[in-house]
Symmetry: C2
Subunit: 210 residues, 2 copies
């Protein structure tokens, strides 16, 4: 019987997201999650075997959502002319619940560094996400009339962009007033992207002074 089941499961996961974001994995009791979801611990143990399993399930759902959202954004691309500043601006945008997700995924990353099983899970998701990002970036670059310079690979570049997003976000969330989210991206990504690309039509070798 499954009319209630998916709903309670979803509400438990929603509650887990809130609770983990608020107090972290270790700081969250199973009963916290149940209270937020409006259930008792009975409902929890009927759906999950342990808090770890809940954490994994939460990550899976979250990963699916992120991917889904990203694909939609990619599909809904404006057809206008694209500049490097536009590209950077796109990478400087952050959703409202990005913070909640950041807290949970970062903690999951930590657990992945310690636990190979979690690491595989995370790596798999990241690979899919990078794949999407690579396609999107390639398309936007092409639309901007640019191409990667010889020796610059798409995947490492996407890894770099993700690293920047994550690293900058950490600083922004610790000091929101000193560094609003997106500041560093807008400030430096045009230069970085400009340095690793060249005009597709007339590939001019820019002078390097390093």
């Amino acid at each position: 019987m499954t009319k209630r089941r998916p709903q309670t499961l979803a509400r438990l996961l929603d509650a887990a997201l809130e609770a983990f974001a608020a107090n972290g994995f270790g700081g969250t009791r199973i009963e916290d999650v149940c209270e937020r979801a409006g259930y008792t611990r009975g409902a929890f143990y009927s759906n999950f075997a342990s808090k770890e399993e809940l954490f994994f399930a939460l990550f899976d759902r979250h990963a699916a959502r992120v991917l889904e959202r990203f694909e939609k954004q990619a599909a809904a691309l404006g057809p206008g002319a694209v500049t490097l500043a536009d590209l950077a601006a796109g990478l400087a945008e952050f959703d409202d619940d990005e913070r909640t997700w950041y807290l949970v995924t970062t903690e999951f990353t930590l657990s992945a560094i310690r636990d190979p099983q979690a690491a595989r899970r995370l790596a798999e998701h990241d690979a899919r996400l990078r794949g999407e990002a690579m396609r999107l970036l390639a398309e936007r670059l092409a639309r901007a009339g640019l191409r990667l310079r010889p020796g610059v690979e798409l995947e490492p570049l996407v890894r770099m962009l993700i690293a920047i997003r994550e690293g900058a976000l950490a600083q922004s969330y610790v000091e929101p007033e000193a560094l609003p989210p997106g500041t560093l991206e807008r400030q430096f990504l045009p230069a970085l992207l400009g340095a690793v690309t060249e005009v597709a039509a007339e590939p001019v070798a820019e002078p390097e002074h390093g």
Copy 2:
């Protein structure tokens, strides 16, 4: 009486570093720390009031050490000619216990995002560290015969470099074989630094195609 005191305190902090890195803050019992240090819980409660206080103390000692190490590195700068690749290579180096520290500081960062008190502490430390990094970077750029382009500030640039280090490190620790630490730095920092600087002697405006 203080012959033993500092030693036990140091051993407790060492043990805490190990334990927190291995199992995280929430996953570490006070007794874990004491066992690793070779004491009982009596020693702990004689030195700390709670696990949180231990965590804070650990962070303070760690912050001091990082700063100290960084200053020494800065002082021990080789006098040789400096290129952008050298600069990038310096930012691509990672100590062996960097991983341990990464795990602990990242968790502290998470707690700082949630707790204003921890945030202040972290922000203060980061500011000091950035100050050092700014001086060091300025010196090395000068030595390389470069200067920042108009509109590029030193502090945001250092923030950016730190963001890159942290973000790249996260990926490297999750997939050490796919992305050895330092890879992204070596690959992209020369381009980035080249794009935000210009030759000090003959300030030439490089063509931008974005």
